[in-house]
């Protein structure tokens, strides 16, 4: 479903990595590697934010290029930065982001998604006063609201507590069970159902 061939990246003219992988429906690629090994760069290439130095990325057999409409319509990218606005409440942030992704979200759905992440009591607080972990949770809450076959998650477990990681694992497992695909960079060992996980270590 998602296939990368000889995908290469450079940083400051120095080759960073060359990788190849193929993901079928229901499979997740878990990318690990030391700091600076290029995990974020790889994820940005897959999400279509960065141009690879060489190689191709294909979705269902058709090559995709950065920012092309097909790629944008199928990918949900959640990066390091949470993309929350300090002035808006948790609920407003979530609705605003989900709408930006093209999802039609009402307040009831947004509240349900926040409740999944144990944030129902904090929904009307401005994002400014939320803790790092809570901000991460608000950002991840849109996983449930925006239906996209490809999830690209960069260090989604950063600042999450054990309960938060468990919720994330559950959501990813459900996504894979529905035939979705995920590319996840993490330092944390994610427990995903057997047979769904492919590992890629950058060095």
């Amino acid at each position: 479903m998602l296939e990368a061939q000889q995908l290469a990246a450079q940083r400051g003219g120095v080759p960073l990595f060359t990788v190849a992988f193929a993901l079928q429906r229901g499979e997740a690629l878990v990318v690990t590697g030391a700091n600076g090994s290029g995990k974020t760069t790889l994820l940005r290439i897959v999400a279509g934010l960065t141009l690879p130095a060489a190689g191709t990325l294909a979705w269902n057999g058709a090559a995709v290029t950065p920012f092309d409409p097909t790629l944008r319509a199928m990918t949900l990218y959640i990066g390091h930065a949470t993309a929350l606005k300090d002035e808006l409440s948790a609920e407003e942030n979530l609705v605003s982001l989900a709408t930006l992704h093209g999802a039609n979200v009402d307040a009831v759905q947004a509240r349900a998604a926040l409740a999944d992440w144990a944030l129902e009591r904090h929904r009307s607080l401005p994002a400014r006063v939320l803790s790092q972990g809570q901000r991460r949770r608000v950002g991840l809450a849109r996983l449930r609201l925006v239906r996209r076959p490809l999830w690209v998650l960069d260090e989604p477990t950063t600042a999450l507590d054990t309960a938060g990681v468990a919720i994330l694992q559950e959501l990813v497992a459900a996504h894979l069970a529905q035939g979705g695909v995920a590319v996840i960079a993490t330092h944390h060992d994610l427990e995903l159902p057997l047979g769904t996980m492919k590992a890629l270590t950058l060095s």
């Binding site: 993309a83 930006l100 093209g102």
Partner: protein, 237 residues
């Protein structure tokens, strides 16, 4: 066919207008929640304009000659001061990545941001300009042409400025570079904007200058969002 393929097939391709609305309403809401920043900009405009009568003395003929130019140069500076906040906040907190990856057309989202930027920074200047014009002894029709010229010219400043703001994203000392990039592009707007008021002052019609400002606005409204979108994509790479 998985539920996903069905969901994608069903999902209508999001329209450009919905993209404009999304970013315009979001940015206006954000602007309304940080009113202090807007107040600072308006005060900056008022103070810069007011410094001139204080500095050059109360000679009525001199002030009338200086007035249109001063009011327009101050508007250019105020616009320049407000430009970094157009993209910098979204760039720093990761929203700009999400905007660039959104299924909405990027130029549409950027058009909405520019519209909101003008409504929160340019429009207040237009509203207060007749009052400030009084300080320079401008009267009736002259004040009306001043406000009309600013109403046509300040959106163009925001549109052209958006290109510069996007090009200088993530650049160190971007503010200074932005001024060097953008102020030369502002020159025609300054000439026709101030020229319209000066024409009325000497008893000529302001029509030609105002028409040129309007034409500039239309051209910028079509071209600038496309250029700014390309610059944003470069900045994110």
């Amino acid at each position: 066919m998985t539920p996903f393929d069905a969901a994608i097939a069903e999902a209508p391709s999001p329209g450009a207008w919905a993209g404009v609305t999304w970013s315009a309403t979001r940015d206006l809401r954000l602007a309304l929640r940080s009113k202090a920043e807007l107040g600072v900009l308006l005060l900056f405009y008022v103070i810069v304009v007011t410094l001139f009568p204080l500095g050059v003395g109360p000679e009525p003929a001199l002030l009338r000659a200086l007035g249109p130019g001063v009011l327009w140069v101050a508007a250019l500076l105020a616009s320049l001061l407000s430009l970094p906040r157009l993209f910098a906040g979204d760039f720093a907190d990761g929203t700009l990545e999400q905007i660039a990856l959104s299924p909405f057309p990027l130029p549409a989202l950027i058009s909405g941001k520019i519209a909101a930027h003008w409504a929160s920074t340019g429009l207040p200047l237009v509203a207060v300009s007749p009052l400030l014009g009084l300080q320079f002894g401008l009267r009736g029709e002259e004040l009306a042409v001043l406000a009309l010229g600013l109403a046509l010219g300040t959106p163009t400043l925001s549109l052209l400025g958006a290109i510069g703001a996007a090009l200088t994203l993530g650049v160190r000392a971007g503010g200074g570079l932005l001024a060097l990039l953008i102020l030369p592009l502002y020159v025609p707007i300054l000439i026709f904007g101030a020229g319209a008021v000066e024409a009325v002052c000497v008893g000529l019609a302001a029509g030609p200058q105002l028409s040129l400002l309007g034409a500039g606005l239309l051209a910028a409204a079509v071209g600038a969002p496309l250029a700014a979108a390309a610059a944003v994509r470069i900045a994110l790479d």
